[in-house]
Amino acid sequence: MKSYLIIIPAYNEEGDIASVIGDVKDSNPGADILVVNDGSTDSTSGIARKTGVMVLDIPFNIGYGGAVQTGFRFAAERRYDFVITVDGDAQHDPYSAQNLIDAMEREQADVVIGSRFIEGTYRMGIMRKIGVRLFSMIARLYTGTNFTDPTSGFQLLNKRVFSHLSKDDNYPLDYPDVNIIMALHKMRVKVVEAPVTMKEKPRGKSMHAGLRPVIYIVRMFLAIIMVLVRKED
C-alpha cells in the first residue's frame, strides 16, 4: 500500500491549526499527518500535539519554504511514497486532496498542483491577481503547459521529487512558487494541475497582503532569472 504524508507548515496558527488537523484527519484517514511548526511564538505546537499528530518544532522562524522542506526531509528519511502539502491557515480544503491523487494516477504525473481557478471562483486583491496572471503566463511560456494557479501551496509530490527538493538549497526558503515549477520542468519532472477548493483566509494576515505582493513579484522575478541561469543539477 502506498504511504502518504500530509505536511502542514504552520506559523502562529493557534486559531486554525486544530480545525485544519481535524479536517485533514477526517478527509484523509489513511495518511500520516505532520505539522511543521515554523518557530511559532503562540501555542500552535501545543495545540497540534494534543491532536495526536506528529509535530516538528523548528527553533525559530525560517520561512514557509524552509518549513515545507523540513517536512520533505522527514518524509525522505521515513521513505514515504508521496507527500501532500496543506497550509496551516485553513485556506485549503483537505477534502480536495483526492482530486490531486486521482490526477497523479490519471496523468502519470510527478507533481500535482491544486488550482482554485479551474473550477469555481476565488476572490483576491488586485495586486495578487496581477501576480498570479503574470506568473501563469511565465510558466506557460517556459513549460508549454497552462498553470492557472502557480502560487498554490496545495500540492502532491512523489518520492523522486520531494527527495530531491529536501536536499540543500533545492527548495527556496521563502516563496516556492512558479520558480519551482520551472526548476522541476528543467529536471524533466511532469507537473500538472487539478481542481481544488480553497477558502478565503478566515483570520489573520495573508502573506500576500499590503505591500507584500509588490515585494513578492520582484523577488519572484529574481528567483525566475536564477532558475534560468543556473545549471541543471
Binding site: 511543521v36 516538528l56 518544532d57 523548528i58 525559530f60 523540513t70 522527514f74 538549497d169
Partner: protein, 107 residues
C-alpha cells in the same frame, strides 16, 4: 581615521572578538585610508597619471570601491550563514522529534 580603524581592528582580532578572516577586509580598508594620507607621495601623482585634475576624487573613488567590496563580502557571509542556519534548525527539529520518540519508547 585609517590608523584608528587599523588599531581598533587589530585589538578586536587580538581579543578574539573578530575572526581573523573577517578582520582582513577591514584591515585592508584601514590600510587604504592610512595610505590616502600620504597624498603628496602616492595619491597626487597617481591621480594626475590617471588624468584626474582633482586628486581627492581618487581617494573618494578608492574608498567607495573598498566599502562596496566590504559590503559585498559581508552580504555573501550573511547569505552563507543563513543557509547554514536553516540546515541547523531543520536538523534540530528532526533530531528533537527522534529524541522525543526514543524517550516515549523507553517509558
Amino acid at each position: 581615521m585609517g590608523t584608528f580603524l587599523f588599531i581598533t581592528i587589530l585589538e578586536l582580532a587580538r581579543k578574539r572578538r573578530f575572526r581573523e578572516e573577517l578582520s582582513i577586509v577591514w584591515l585592508l580598508t584601514g590600510l587604504g585610508l592610512i595610505l590616502s594620507s600620504f597624498a603628496d607621495l602616492i595619491i597626487d601623482p597617481l591621480a594626475f597619471k590617471l588624468g584626474l585634475s582633482y586628486p581627492p576624487a581618487l581617494v573618494f573613488m578608492i574608498t567607495f570601491f573598498l566599502f562596496v567590496l566590504v559590503i559585498l563580502y559581508f552580504s555573501v557571509a550573511v547569505s552563507d550563514l543563513k543557509s547554514r542556519n536553516k540546515e541547523l534548525s531543520q536538523k534540530i527539529a528532526l533530531m528533537e522529534y527522534k529524541l522525543g520518540t526514543l524517550y516515549k519508547e523507553e517509558e
